[in-house]
């Protein structure tokens, strides 16, 4: 099983859409709320070089934004 994590904010609709996508396809994921977790916010900025959310990791592959087609491909979702 692939390790999926998302850096998000509570008010971001693309983040919500991504999380709904994971739930719909029964994909377990770890959520990092960067509005309250400053260490994870800095980690996200360091890893992605930018401050926009969501930032999603599927194992070591990073996706900035909610790219449904790419997520489907990486996660083998039809």
């Amino acid at each position: 099983m692939k390790n999926v994590s998302i850096y998000s904010t509570p008010t971001c609709h693309f983040c919500q859409a991504a999380k709904e996508f994971f739930k719909e396809h029964n994909i377990e994921f770890t959520n990092h709320d960067v509005s309250t977790d400053a260490a994870k916010r800095d980690e996200m900025i360091q890893k992605s070089g930018q401050m926009g959310v969501p930032v999603i990791f599927v194992d070591d592959e990073m996706i900035v934004g909610f790219d449904e087609a790419k997520l489907k491909s990486l996660l083998g979702v039809v």
Partner: protein, 323 residues
């Protein structure tokens, strides 16, 4: 794939149209690049009748569910090409093509940029266009918001929950938000400082935003050091597909419609932020209403023109496409 109606756009206008189209029992497809359009990014919506306060994304999700229960289909993809053959349309999105008797252009609007050097390079690196998305990333930081309209003030109120300090940079002499939102902003006190008659002249930074240069001095300096810059200066209508179809535009580049949301092209209807109806008043209630009217016109059009598309246009279109 053959439909009575393809709705291009899945914001308030597109979903309002989808609800009515579903109730008219039209075979309906909604194609959307970004689900929920501007509403999904708007934060809390407090002026949609029947819902005292609801998150914009949630409101759009409820509308989608309501239309989906009526048999309306949804595809999350950008309509990239559209063509017309007699009274029949073909819309391309991703690798698929969809035929329809009529289409509704609910293509919305694209956020306006400042048009400054460095803006593109620093987008996501301090320069942002979606405060509900990225505002909370700036917890404890100092940011600036550009724009003096309602969206800007609502964005400032939301961001103020997280940031340490916010400068609202307004080109005009006044902030023109809804009075209720102005009251909310004023209640936040010194946290939000309004700079009237001021523009951002330069965006400064290499790998990330360092500061902005203002058109007039603020507290003795043209330079304003901020961690983030949010741009909320309105939007430009998305009319690329309309133009391809020969749909008429007004002098401000919006799709021209009559009071039944008909364009100058038979079978093409339009609704929402891309059209000239209701002038500059862009609200969920007006967008959804325009969608409902557009769907009604599409339904009436279907009654008049019957099966013309299936009988004549599709074989001809297929023939052309197979060449």
């Amino acid at each position: 794939m053959q439909y009575d109606l393809v709705i291009i756009g899945s914001g308030a206008a597109g979903l309002g149209a989808a609800l009515y189209s579903g109730r008219y029992r039209l075979r309906t497809l909604v194609l959307g690049k970004e689900f929920g359009g501007e509403t999904a990014k708007a934060g809390t919506i407090e002026n949609y009748p029947g819902t005292p306060a609801i998150d914009g994304y949630e409101l759009m999700s409820v509308m989608k569910k309501q239309a989906g229960a009526l048999g309306v289909e949804f595809v999350s993809a950008e309509a990239t090409r559209v063509s017309r053959q007699a009274h029949c349309f073909e819309v391309h999105a991703s690798d698929a093509a969809y035929q329809a008797h009529a289409i509704i252009l609910a293509t919305g609007a694209e956020r306006r940029r400042l048009g400054l050097p460095n803006e593109k390079e620093l987008t996501g690196r301090g320069v942002h266009y979606c405060v509900t998305c990225d505002g909370p990333v700036y917890g404890g930081k100092k940011i600036a918001m550009v724009g003096g309209g309602d969206a800007s003030v609502k964005g400032a109120i939301l961001a103020a929950e997280y940031v340490d300090k916010l400068f609202l940079i307004v080109r005009g002499k006044d902030v023109t938000a809804e009075p209720i939102n102005l009251e909310k902003m004023k209640a936040l006190g010194d946290k939000i400082e309004v700079l009237l008659g001021t523009e951002v002249a330069e965006i400064v930074g290499k790998d990330k935003l360092e500061k902005v240069v203002l058109s007039r001095p603020f507290k003795g300096s043209h330079e304003l050091v901020v961690d983030g810059l949010f741009v909320e200066i309105g939007a430009m209508p998305n009319v690329e597909l309309a133009t391809v179809l020969g749909v008429g535009l007004d002098e401000r580049g919006h799709i021209k419609v009559d009071n039944m949301m008909r364009t100058n092209i038979d079978g093409v209807f339009a609704a929402g932020d891309a059209v000239n109806h209701f002038g500059a008043f862009k609200q969920d209630i007006t967008a959804a209403a325009m969608g409902a009217v557009a769907a009604t016109s599409a339904y009436n059009d279907r009654k008049v023109h019957g099966e013309l598309c299936e009988m004549h246009a599709v074989p001809a279109l297929n023939k052309i496409l197979s060449v």
